[in-house]
Symmetry: C2
Subunit: 314 residues, 2 copies
């Protein structure tokens, strides 16, 4: 059923959400505090949607674009919305003020969702009258090409809010996970940090080059993990399943985990080293071109997964 979705903040994440919700058939309103950014957003959307169309991921860019309407005031943009997806600055004061303002303007059944990747739901909704209808819906980057969304509520968030949010996002073809408690960084970035932390150590210690580190994932673990999660992966890697696997490899893995637990600073020395490693592989001037390559590859991969899901099962 078509709903009215207000996307607040027309940067990259906001625009991605606008495409996701429009693709799902919803009426999308788009707002940005900066009118220039808002106007620019509409032409950037046209480019992205054309790309999606030519890659076979949507039928008609014009249909999708026709359902996205820009508004220069917040009040107009959110009026009548069933769902607000906020993508403002990653600043807790900015977000608190914005959500409190929207909370006063909107009827209580409207869900208020933040895309924040770093701020907890309760840090934003604490003391807000409508804290029960607020949720963090944290997407991956870029959200219009990666379906995952993490739903995380504050202790005050109503269970009903979470289940309605899940339903609406799943109906929009997103893959939703639910966090039962708040945790810093949510799940996706915590998993990323765990892997990066070890990756950086291996590079810093001269065990492998940054280029080889990347190859290990790209031509190894990443392939399995793009069709299965890490738990299913090991469940299928021993005759008796995950427990059998852990009984075989757990003692060795525990020794490795102990070695990995040593703390090392995330500081400018580390950042400089990682930059050197990457710049050996790719010039800074090529980043934009490579980001377009990434998006095309992610589109092709999305199409491939869609077809393979149908052909072989999910």
């Amino acid at each position: 059923m078509s709903q009215r979705i207000a996307v607040v903040g027309a940067g990259f994440i906001g625009r991605s959400w606008a495409m996701v919700f429009s693709k799902a058939g919803h009426q999308v309103t788009l707002y940005d505090i900066d009118p220039t950014a808002l106007a620019e957003a509409m032409s950037l959307l046209e480019v992205n949607l054309a790309d999606l169309e030519s890659n076979g991921l949507i039928h008609s860019k014009d249909d999708l674009l026709g359902r996205i309407q820009p508004f220069e005031t917040l009040e107009k943009a959110i009026e009548g919305a069933n769902w607000v997806q906020e993508n403002a600055l990653e600043n807790v004061d900015v977000k608190r003020e914005l959500f409190n303002r929207m909370d006063k303007l909107l009827p209580e059944q409207t869900i208020l969702a933040s895309s924040t990747s770093a701020i907890s739901c309760s840090d934003i909704s604490k003391g807000m009258k409508g804290a029960g209808r607020m949720v963090v819906a944290h997407p991956a980057n870029p959200p219009y090409l990666l379906p995952i969304v993490e739903l995380s509520g504050a202790p005050e968030t109503k269970i009903e809010t979470i289940s309605r949010a899940k339903d609406l996002l799943e109906a929009a073809d997103m893959e939703v996970i639910t966090l039962n408690k708040e945790i810093k960084g949510f799940v996706l970035n915590r998993l990323q940090v765990a892997l990066l932390n070890e990756a950086f150590k291996l590079v810093e210690d001269g065990i492998v080059s940054g280029a080889d580190l990347d190859k290990t994932i790209k031509h190894g673990l990443g392939l399995r993990w793009s069709i299965m999660g890490p738990m299913e992966t090991i469940d299928l890697n021993a005759p008796g399943g995950i427990r059998d696997y852990l009984e075989r490899f757990g003692p060795a893995f525990e020794t490795i985990a102990k070695e990995q637990s040593s703390l090392r600073p995330w500081d400018s020395t580390r950042y400089k080293k990682m930059e050197e490693e990457r710049r050996r592989v790719m010039s800074l001037n090529d980043l934009n071109k490579r980001a377009r390559w990434r998006d095309r590859r992610l589109m092709a991969l999305a199409r491939h997964k869609e077809e393979s899901d149908k052909h072989y099962g999910k």
Copy 2:
């Protein structure tokens, strides 16, 4: 140029190597200490190769099978080999004895490679006359569907051995990384352990279910990581590249890394919990069927990557 490759140990990893080397046009000899396993291996190879053929990953199963010859004695199997790929039990004494025996039988230009995932090269080659031509060539599972190979030598391993090994494996369409120093677990499994360790904690702490944990990777990080490594991923996620990214997110990531550094036992409580989580998603009886599904999906993914590499660039 066609070489003679001896695959020692005809279990799953050995058979996979036989397919890899045969696909590359080499003459492959296959040996197993157990004659029944050796006979069985030839019919299992036929099934796997038929699968590869019907999935468009090889032209002719009969060609490949025709280049694989079983031998019931080690001496016959390795005679005249340019390369030996060992896949015996993961037991250091077994491997030391086996390599010392082969070292005496083979001329010094033959490369001796072990597929071990848990034993270091120097633990096997220490004191062996031909330690200079020994290397670990650790593949991912399953090696005939995941191209990554980790090359790790002992301090005694000659640089020339590493470079010849790299050349031969790359010519066989494998993606090779080189470890500059020995390290427990090599690179791939250390990265896997780092991620699993955090994944298990999140599940143990009730933050997410095992099913949702897997979704986070499968529909999120795993998609990016199947086309780019983790370093390239973040290099493309900030306007100024990896350093810019780390300057923005590093402080928050360091806080998370500190939280993650707490030690937790890899014990039966953990294994039991993870088994419960997986068995909620999939019955133990369905593991074999699912493993076949995985292999078909990995084949389809390999084909997809091949086509996308051609069309969009690597």
